[in-house]
């Protein structure tokens, strides 16, 4: 089918969270209410038992949308049913390269998130809620601030909400630019006014989190789903998506595609429908060579895997992950070794430095990839890069180290030929470039193979023919 803009796609979006999102009114309390907003909160506070809500969330199978995909309802049920001060933190740090869905959800429909947070807090007996938003999202933070003010004025927040006796305070907390604060325990430290360093787990935040109290931490999209599940029931929610990945997902597609953007689909649609159908496929004259299916920390997949369903389980089976649901597409104009270098550089910059494998590993990986891209490495170095990644994985306090190791090792593994070709090409370029120091007795080239190149080729176990062109 094709729409008025001549767009062809074999699938339609299934907009639940982004429904009416194109209407600017949706960002205001009045607009949100005109589409039925806050009705389920009103009903929940008066008539629904908190235990029923916890149960329904668990029953719905809603999985966290921030990266790990853990059951939201289970997490709520882990909070102790005591009178202690408990906290809810909405993770709106969204700093993983490739992810931009929370930005859209907060900008276009802030009240959907706030309503979800109030209902979750009510269900878990939480009295203080925070939205931790990355500092770069200044516009969105202002929108949330206004929406929270509106909710206070309307009596949905504050003391004795709608006469129910339930109290909830909500604060929008702006971060200040550090990817690591998206990690849940680093986020708690940042909220307590410290440098954002991850904490050792256990104890898990559900037991001992913010100010030492039990704390629920969920992603923006996860919490935005809550009011819909409570309104329509777990069975309704399960009617979307697959058995192990129920619901819809806002997927951020970016990179080398014609129509990058956020698309809301049922989990389990094919990657092809997402990348070619909705996002328009590669740019004219280009071919897709690789893509990250779940943000920059997911191992890359290749076009051979294009027909897989986009679900938590299918991505895991393919050796990757759905993560935050962000697809970055690379085409044949993109050098995979340089993409690996960009990826490593990011994690090196964002490593908090607390554990050695991550701090040193990200640093060394970046340096070695730089050498690959400058033609100074040998193919053997590629094995060393892979072994460095193996030594990072599973050896760190948080998973930031793994988040670099997984994609980098997948690229070296799946595109080894390209890495070797880059080394050879760059070495040849350096060899042919004027100004190179010609050692005594060395063939000045170009035309002949450089001794270094020959050495590398031999190391890689390949036949070397000398005397040919470069």
């Amino acid at each position: 089918m094709s729409d008025a803009n001549g767009r062809h796609s074999s699938i339609e979006e299934t907009r639940v969270l982004l429904r009416h999102a194109e209407d600017p009114k949706m960002a205001t309390l009045e607009g949100y209410r005109s589409y039925g907003g806050y009705k389920v909160l009103e009903k929940a506070l008066k008539e629904i038992d908190p235990e029923w809500i916890v149960n329904e969330l668990e029953e719905s199978g809603l999985r966290g949308r921030g990266g790990a995909g853990f059951s939201m309802g289970k997490k709520v049920s882990f909070l102790p049913r005591t009178e202690d001060a408990k906290y809810l933190c909405c993770n709106a740090d969204e700093s993983e390269p490739g992810a931009f869905k929370d930005r859209e959800l907060m900008q276009r429909n802030p009240h959907q998130l706030i309503e979800g947070m109030i209902i979750s807090s009510f269900a878990a007996g939480i009295g203080h809620a925070f939205i931790f938003i990355r500092g770069e999202y200044d516009d969105q933070a202002d929108i949330l601030d206004r929406a929270v003010d509106e909710a206070y004025e309307a009596g949905y927040l504050g003391r004795n909400i709608l006469g129910s006796g339930f109290d909830l305070e909500m604060v929008v907390h702006r971060g200040a630019g550090a990817y690591i604060c998206g990690e849940e325990t680093a986020l708690l430290d940042a909220l307590e006014g410290k440098r954002g360093n991850p904490r050792l787990k256990p104890p898990f935040p559900a037991v001992q989190g913010l100010y030492g109290g039990p704390t629920l931490i969920n992603n923006v999209e996860t919490l935005s789903n809550v009011s819909h599940i409570v309104a329509n029931g777990a069975d309704w929610f399960k009617s979307f998506g697959t058995e192990q990945s129920p619901g819809t997902k806002v997927v951020s597609v970016s990179g080398c595609v014609k129509r990058p953007g956020n698309y809301e689909v049922e989990l389990g649609v094919s990657l092809r429908d997402l990348i070619y159908g909705l996002a328009g496929g590669p740019l004219d004259g280009r071919e897709i060579t690789a893509f990250y299916p779940g943000g920059s920390s997911s191992p890359v997949l290749t076009p051979a895997e294009m027909d897989l369903p986009y679900s938590f389980e299918a991505m895991a089976e393919a050796g990757s992950m759905l993560g935050s649901g962000s697809i970055i597409v690379a085409d044949d104009s993109v050098s995979i070794p340089r993409m690996a270098l960009r990826t490593a550089k990011f994690y090196r910059h964002e490593s908090c430095g607390k554990c050695t494998p991550c701090r040193e590993g990200t640093n060394w990986t970046e340096k070695m990839l730089q050498r690959v891209c400058a033609g100074e490495a040998t193919p053997m170095d590629l094995d060393i890069i892979s072994s460095v990644q193996d030594n990072i994985m599973g050896h760190c306090l948080c998973v930031l180290g793994d988040a670099m190791a997984m994609p980098v090792s997948s690229m070296v593994h799946k595109f080894r030929d390209e890495f070797e070709a880059t080394i050879a090409e760059e070495a040849a370029k350096a060899w042919a470039s004027p100004g190179r120091d010609v050692q005594d007795g060395e063939d000045p080239g170009p035309g002949g193979e450089s001794p270094e190149l020959i050495r590398r080729e031999r190391l890689a176990g390949r036949e070397v023919t000398t005397g040919g062109g470069s």
């Binding site: 194109e22 629904i48 700093s95 490739g98 309104a231 597609v253 080398c256």
Partner: protein, 251 residues
């Protein structure tokens, strides 16, 4: 960005000028650079520090928003938002501003300094009147982010090397140009954040237009601003009968 000090540098006998890097403008908060005011490890005595009343009230309002306001000892949750207040007021986290904030919050200046230095957006050296953050992360890099950063440096005269490592100031010190990690707007790639608003996709020539507009005090490229952008999929009315407004059994 932070001035590089020789290792034998002793701040106690230095002149205020020694603290500013050559070419950096004098700070709007009339600061003497990184000169520590008093002992950074002591909680400042309110009697000795002059804090403007409106600033004191603003900081107190922020502190009062957090549940740890009644904790024993000093409430620290407000550290980041209070540093934002200081940065908005003085242009960057000036030493004076940090001491003022520490006085109201009753924490040590060293503590706030340690927090400020951890976060990329809190600046502990002057950052000009306008900030341009150019994303050079994966998606933007694929679509020309590095070249866009080059174009901004060329236009402003900011040092490309500095811009790639935390930020460089334009020749006149008014515009900070900084390469940045993913800003969460890969759909706009290549994109930049200009004074905390997002613009994209940008062409290299837009760099020049943006800088001219900033200098003339005009609105920056309205047609490329994120808040004018619709959803990628356009207005899509779903034909799915399961998706309804406000009609759920529990509504």
């Amino acid at each position: 960005m932070t001035p590089v000090m020789p290792s034998d540098f002793d701040p106690r006998n230095a002149e205020p000028e020694d603290f500013t890097s050559p070419g950096l403008p004098k700070d709007v908060a009339n600061t003497s650079g990184r000169l520590p005011l008093g002992d950074p490890e002591q909680i400042p005595d309110p009697a000795n520090v002059d804090v403007p009343t409106d600033l004191r009230e603003e900081i107190q309002t922020v502190v009062d928003k957090y549940p740890d306001r009644d904790h024993k000892g000093s409430p620290k949750s407000a550290a980041i938002p209070v540093l934002w207040v200081i940065q908005r007021r003085y242009g960057w986290c000036t030493p004076e501003g940090i001491v003022q904030a520490a006085t109201v919050m009753q924490v040590t200046p060293a503590y706030l300094e340690s927090v400020a230095s951890f976060y990329d957006l809190l600046r502990t050296s002057p950052q000009g009147d306008h900030q341009v953050l150019v994303c050079t992360n994966i998606a933007c890099w694929m679509r020309g982010g590095d070249e866009l950063l080059d174009a901004f440096c060329e236009k402003t005269g900011a040092d490309r090397e500095a811009a790639g490592h935390g930020g460089g100031l334009s020749a006149d010190g008014k515009v900070l140009v900084s390469g940045f990690e993913c800003l969460g707007a890969c759909d706009l790639a290549p994109m930049a954040s200009v004074n905390e608003r997002y613009f994209g996709p940008l062409e290299n020539a837009d760099a020049s237009t943006i800088v001219d507009q900033l200098e003339a005090g005009e609105e920056v490229l309205p047609e490329k601003s994120l808040d004018r952008r619709g959803l990628a999929g356009g207005v899509a009315e779903s034909s799915d009968p399961r998706v309804v407004d406000g009609k759920g059994p529990n509504r």
